[in-house]
């Protein structure tokens, strides 16, 4: 009788243990799938997408697991980081401090300084006409604008003889900014202000370092 009782206790423990292990394994699997998804996408993914990847209906659960993954990455000493953006989106990317040395290895032709300045100006002043941008940034801006349109970072909409320029959702996603223009402009202002406070090197390399590694709003 005692043995039987012991046995049943034992088997209950085994079952419980198995369950625990199963649930731990389940979480492990989900962690890996989310990591894989973020790696492949190379852009912020929302909880709905992550749910579909791990076959789960609970956004809350998936959010919790993804936050575990963020902690995992923080604990590891790694060149990569996972960020939680506003509106519950997550993105895996290279930490900024590593990026300068390896930028040249990136597959895609990346934008040079000139187009990037035009881009930040458009983002900051949008909606803005092409004419105004060219007045401020000079004739080169025509080429920059074409390049930015081609990369799907800005939209160009005809307006009489001129064009109205706006950043795209892809732009917002790429930089981890809000898709809402007003919020985005506030975020940008904060980034630029912070940059202004920092002592910049004399060569005027007024780069916005570290703006991506912080969670914006």
């Amino acid at each position: 009788m005692k043995a039987m009782a012991n046995n049943s206790v034992l088997s209950a423990q085994i079952i419980q243990g198995k369950r625990k292990r199963a649930s731990r394994e389940d979480v492990e699997t989900k962690l890996r799938l989310i990591e894989a998804a973020l790696y492949v996408a190379g852009r912020p993914l929302d909880l709905k997408t992550l749910c579909s990847i791990v076959n789960s209906r609970s956004e809350r659960k998936v959010q919790k697991i993804t936050r575990m993954l963020i902690d995992e990455y923080k604990k590891r000493n790694t060149a990569l980081e996972i960020l939680e953006l506003e509106d519950n989106r997550f993105v895996l990317q290279l930490k900024n401090e590593c990026s300068d040395r390896v930028r040249r290895l990136a597959i895609r032709p990346l934008l040079t300084d000139g187009p990037l300045r035009t881009l930040s100006y458009i983002a900051y002043r949008q909606p803005i006409t092409q004419k105004q941008v060219v007045e401020v940034r000079g004739k080169h801006a025509y080429r920059h604008i074409s390049e930015l349109v081609e990369m799907d970072l800005i939209n160009r909409e005809r307006n009489g003889r001129d064009f109205i320029l706006r950043t795209t959702d892809y732009f917002a996603d790429y930089f981890g900014l809000s898709r809402n223009v007003q919020t985005m402009k506030r975020q940008l202002k904060r980034i630029f202000d912070r940059r202004g406070e920092e002592k910049l090197p004399a060569d005027g390399a007024a780069r916005m370092q570290g703006q991506q590694s912080e969670t914006l709003e």
Binding site: Y39, V40, A41, G42, R43, V91, L92, Q93, L94, N96, S99, V102, R103, A106, I107, R108, L110, L111, D113, L116, R117, L119, S120, Y121, A123, Y124, R125, Q132, E135, V136, R137, Y174, F175, G176, L188, F192, R195, A206, R207, M208, Q209, Q211, Q212
Partner: protein, 231 residues
């Protein structure tokens, strides 16, 4: 006053400005208080109890001109194109946004590459003349020599004919190997080409007893000596 100077009162300051268009144009319109001038002008006429409609009309006309000058100046000041772009040209340009580095799996597969190749090759086939994919080799040395030679073909025919005539008069059998005897390879080729030309023109007949055997030559026409091959 009027009688003293012989001029009506409004030809004196401060109202005279309203009746002197030349001066009016030189004066800064902002220095003229039209309201004061007109009201004091009317008061003065009332005081003198002599209403001069003509003078009033001129005074009104001048006032209108001054108003026009003032509003022209105002409009000029408000014209934006001169001032505005300069303001925006020094607008704050934020520092460049730095693209975060993210790996992204791209969707292009080798299958896509081959589909693209299919399309590219289609337009290649549409080209009227296919450009040779290999660089054109410099022509071998024999080519210019032969072309030079062909230009002097007639001369060569004569030279070879006389040689054959000499041989045939000596009673020798005319064979290709006899003509080519002791010649360099290139010269042998020349001789052979000349013989073909001559045969084509009907000056000689070439014949062979067996395939790959000796080529015998028969001169045709005047001075020809019929010579039979051995056997």
């Amino acid at each position: 006053m009027e009688k003293e100077s012989g001029k009506p009162f409004y030809f004196h300051p401060p109202w005279d400005i309203l009746f002197n268009l030349e001066r009016l144009r030189k004066i800064n319109p902002w220095n003229i208080d039209i309201a004061f001038l007109l009201s004091s002008f009317l008061e003065e006429m009332e005081r003198r109890a002599s209403v001069d409609f003509r003078a009033s009309g001129v005074a009104l006309g001048s006032s209108a001109s001054i108003y026009l000058m003032k509003s022209n100046l105002l409009l000029k000041l408000e014209e934006p194109p001169e001032v505005e772009p300069r303001q925006s040209a020094v607008d704050f340009v934020p520092p460049p946004l730095i693209l975060p580095l993210r790996y992204e799996l791209t969707t292009t597969t080798i299958q896509n590459l081959l589909e693209a190749l299919d399309e590219a090759l289609k337009s290649e086939n549409l080209l009227p003349i296919r450009t040779p994919s290999k660089p054109i080799l410099p022509p071998p040395e024999i080519m210019p020599t032969i072309s030079m030679y062909l230009m002097e073909i007639e001369k060569e025919i004569e030279r070879l004919t006389s040689k054959m005539l000499i041989l045939s008069r000596r009673g020798e059998i005319l064979s290709f190997s006899k003509l080519a005897e002791g010649l360099a390879k290139i010269e042998i080729i020349k001789v052979f080409l000349i013989l073909l030309f001559m045969a084509h023109k009907g000056k000689i007949t070439l014949w062979q007893q067996e395939d790959l055997g000796e080529i015998y030559i028969t001169l045709n026409g005047a001075g020809a000596v019929r010579i039979e091959g051995d056997g």
